[in-house]
C-alpha cells in the first residue's frame, strides 16, 4: 500500500498557529499580485482564492476554509462508503459475519453512502463552479486486505471510524459557518456511534467501546486530529492524488 495522497508538510519552523496563518496570508497576497500582473482572470477578485477546491499545479487541492473542510470530509466519506460497499458485497459476507455483525455493517454501509452522497450534493450546490471545484470520485486500493476475513474487516472498520471521529473533531474549529459546523456535528456523533459499535463487535465484554486507547484517561476527551495527521492514514487506501496545502 502506497501513500499516494500528497500531503502538505507544515514547516516545523512555523512554531505557532498564528505565524503560520500570517505567512499564509503573505503568500496569498504575493500570489495575487503575480496573477494580477501576468494573466487575464475570469474572476472579479484579482487574488487567487485558495479557499476554493480545484486543480492547482496539475493536482486537485482541497482548498481551505469551509469549502476546504467540507471537501476534506467528502474525501473521507468517499473512503468509508467505498469500504463498506466492498464489505457488504464481498462474496462471503453472509458466511463470514453473524446476524448482528451483518446488521451493523449493513447499517454502516447505508449511513456512509448517505454521508458521501450528501456531501456531493451539498458541495455541488454550494461551489461557484462545481464542474472544476468538486472533488472527483476517488479511486481506492486496499492492498492485501482480505474482505473475507472477519478480523481484518472489523479492524479496518475500527480504524476508519476512529479516524473519522478524530478528523471531524479536529476540523470543527476550521469551520466558520454555524450551519456547516452543525452539519458536521450531526455526522460526527454518528461516526462515534459507529466506532463504539465496531469496537464492541471486536471485544464485546469490555470497555473498548470508549477504550483507554482512544479516550484520554485523565480528561475523558476523544481524539482530535488535524487534516495533516488524518490524510496520511486515509492515503493508505486512496490512490487518486490530491493535496491539502491550505489545511493545517
Amino acid at each position: 500500500m502506497k501513500n499516494e495522497v500528497k500531503i502538505h508538510e507544515v514547516d516545523p519552523s512555523l512554531n505557532s498557529r498564528r505565524s503560520f496563518l500570517k505567512l499564509s496570508g503573505l503568500t496569498l497576497v504575493t500570489t495575487g499580485l503575480v496573477l494580477a500582473g501576468c494573466s487575464d482572470n475570469d474572476n472579479d477578485n484579482n487574488m487567487e482564492d485558495t479557499s476554493l477546491p480545484g486543480v492547482r499545479n496539475g493536482v486537485f487541492d482541497l482548498g481551505s476554509g469551509d469549502f476546504g473542510v467540507l471537501t476534506y470530509a467528502y474525501a473521507l466519506e468517499q473512503l468509508e462508503a467505498d469500504f463498506y460497499t466492498k464489505v457488504v458485497n464481498s462474496s462471503n459476507f453472509n458466511a463470514v459475519f453473524n446476524d448482528t455483525e451483518r446488521q451493523v455493517l449493513t447499517d454502516l454501509y447505508h449511513h456512509e453512502v448517505v454521508h458521501r452522497d450528501f456531501f456531493k450534493a451539498a458541495l455541488t450546490g454550494a461551489l461557484p463552479d462545481p464542474s472544476s471545484q468538486l472533488l472527483p470520485t476517488l479511486a481506492f486500493n486496499y492492498g492485501s486486505l482480505n474482505f473475507n476475513s472477519r478480523s481484518e474487516v472489523l479492524a479496518t472498520a475500527k480504524a476508519l471510524e476512529d479516524t473519522g471521529v478524530a478528523a471531524y473533531n479536529g476540523a470543527g474549529r476550521l469551520i466558520k459557518t454555524a450551519d456547516y459546523l452543525l452539519l458536521a456535528g450531526k455526522i460526527v456523533s454518528v461516526e462515534a456511534r459507529h466506532a463504539s459499535a465496531i469496537r464492541s463487535l471486536i471485544n464485546p465484554n469490555s470497555k473498548d467501546f470508549a477504550g483507554d486507547d482512544i479516550v484520554n484517561m485523565s480528561t475523558g476527551l476523544d481524539d482530535a486530529k488535524d487534516p495533516s495527521k488524518i490524510l496520511p492514514i486515509a492515503a493508505n487506501f486512496i490512490t487518486t492524488k490530491f493535496t491539502a496545502k491550505y489545511l493545517p
Partner: protein, 270 residues
C-alpha cells in the same frame, strides 16, 4: 490537551481575536474577565442565590461560557447518576463476562473526568463562572426506581446519553468563536455518542437512532429526548432517498436547543 492547556485556552482564544502580541493581549485580560463574569450572571448568580432552596435550572446565555456552564450541569447529572448506580449495586457484576459493570465503570470515569475538566475550564470552584451542582432526584418523586431496578437504570442511562449527544451538538454554534473550547466540546460530544451507542446495545437496540423512535422499553416520558430526530432533509438533500427514512435519519443526529435540554434536565432537578 490537558486541563492546564484548556484553561490557558481561554486566554489564547482571546489572543486569537487580538492583533497585538501575546504580552499586549494579556493587558486586556482584565476586561475580558469582566465580560465573562457578566455573561455568567444570569445563570451563575441566580443559581447561587437560590441554592438553599433548590430549584430548576434555567437556560444559559448563548455564549462560550454559558455553553460550558450548561455542559457542566449536564455532566453533574450524568456523573451523580452513575456514581449512585455503582454505589447501589444495581448494575449486575457477573452477567455477560461482567460487561455491564465494566461499561458503566468506564462511563462513570468519563463523566467524572468531564466534570473536573469543565470546572477547571471555567476557572475552578472560586471563579465567578463556576456553577454549583444542582440537587438531583433520579426517582422523579418516586416515579422511577433506577437504583433498585436495573432495566429502569438502563432506560434512564440511554435517555441521558442520547440527550447529552444532542445537547452538546446544540451548543456548537455558541463556541464557534472560541476554537479551543469548541474542539474540547466536540471531544466530549463524541465520547457521549460512544456511550450512547453502547448503552443502547446493552438494551438490545441499535447504537443509532432510527426516525424519532425512543426504542423498545423506553417510557413515554423520554420521548422528548427523541422528538425531532427523524429528520431526513439535510441542507436540501433527501437522506431517505437511497435506503429509506430509517437509514437516512440514523445517519444524522439532531441537536436540541438549550431550552429543550433544560426542560429534560429539570425533570430530575428538585
Amino acid at each position: 490537551m490537558n486541563i492546564l492547556k484548556f484553561i490557558e485556552s481561554f486566554t489564547d482564544d482571546n489572543l486569537m481575536n487580538s492583533t497585538g502580541s501575546r504580552r499586549d493581549s494579556f493587558s486586556h485580560f482584565g476586561n475580558i474577565g469582566k465580560n465573562l463574569a457578566m455573561a455568567s450572571i444570569p445563570f451563575g448568580l441566580s443559581a447561587l442565590a437560590n441554592k438553599a432552596f433548590a430549584k430548576d435550572i434555567t437556560a444559559t446565555p448563548a455564549t462560550p461560557i454559558g455553553a460550558l456552564q450548561f455542559a457542566l450541569t449536564l455532566e453533574y447529572l450524568e456523573n451523580e447518576f452513575y456514581s449512585m448506580a455503582l454505589d447501589s449495586g444495581v448494575i449486575p457484576a457477573l452477567e455477560n463476562g461482567g460487561r455491564d459493570l465494566k461499561v458503566f465503570q468506564q462511563i462513570a470515569d468519563h463523566e467524572s473526568d468531564h466534570v473536573k475538566f469543565l470546572i477547571a475550564g471555567l476557572g475552578g470552584t472560586a471563579s465567578p463562572n463556576f456553577v454549583p451542582k444542582p440537587t438531583f432526584d433520579f426517582t422523579v418523586g418516586g416515579t422511577f426506581d433506577p437504583f433498585h431496578d436495573y432495566p429502569t437504570f438502563l432506560t434512564l442511562a440511554q435517555a441521558f446519553e442520547d440527550t447529552g449527544v444532542r445537547a452538546y451538538k446544540g451548543q456548537a454554534a455558541n463556541l464557534i468563536t472560541t476554537p479551543d473550547l469548541l474542539t474540547a466540546a466536540l471531544q466530549i460530544h463524541s465520547v457521549e455518542a460512544r456511550h450512547a451507542s453502547e448503552v443502547r446495545r446493552l438494551r438490545g437496540l441499535k447504537g443509532w437512532i432510527s426516525n424519532a423512535d425512543r426504542g423498545a422499553g423506553m417510557p413515554s416520558a423520554t420521548q422528548a429526548v427523541y422528538d425531532g430526530e427523524g429528520v431526513t432533509m439535510q441542507a436540501g438533500f433527501n437522506t431517505a432517498a437511497a435506503f429509506g427514512a430509517a437509514a437516512g435519519s440514523e445517519a444524522y443526529d439532531e441537536p436540541l436547543t438549550t431550552q429543550q435540554v433544560v426542560d429534560i434536565a429539570n425533570i430530575f432537578i428538585v
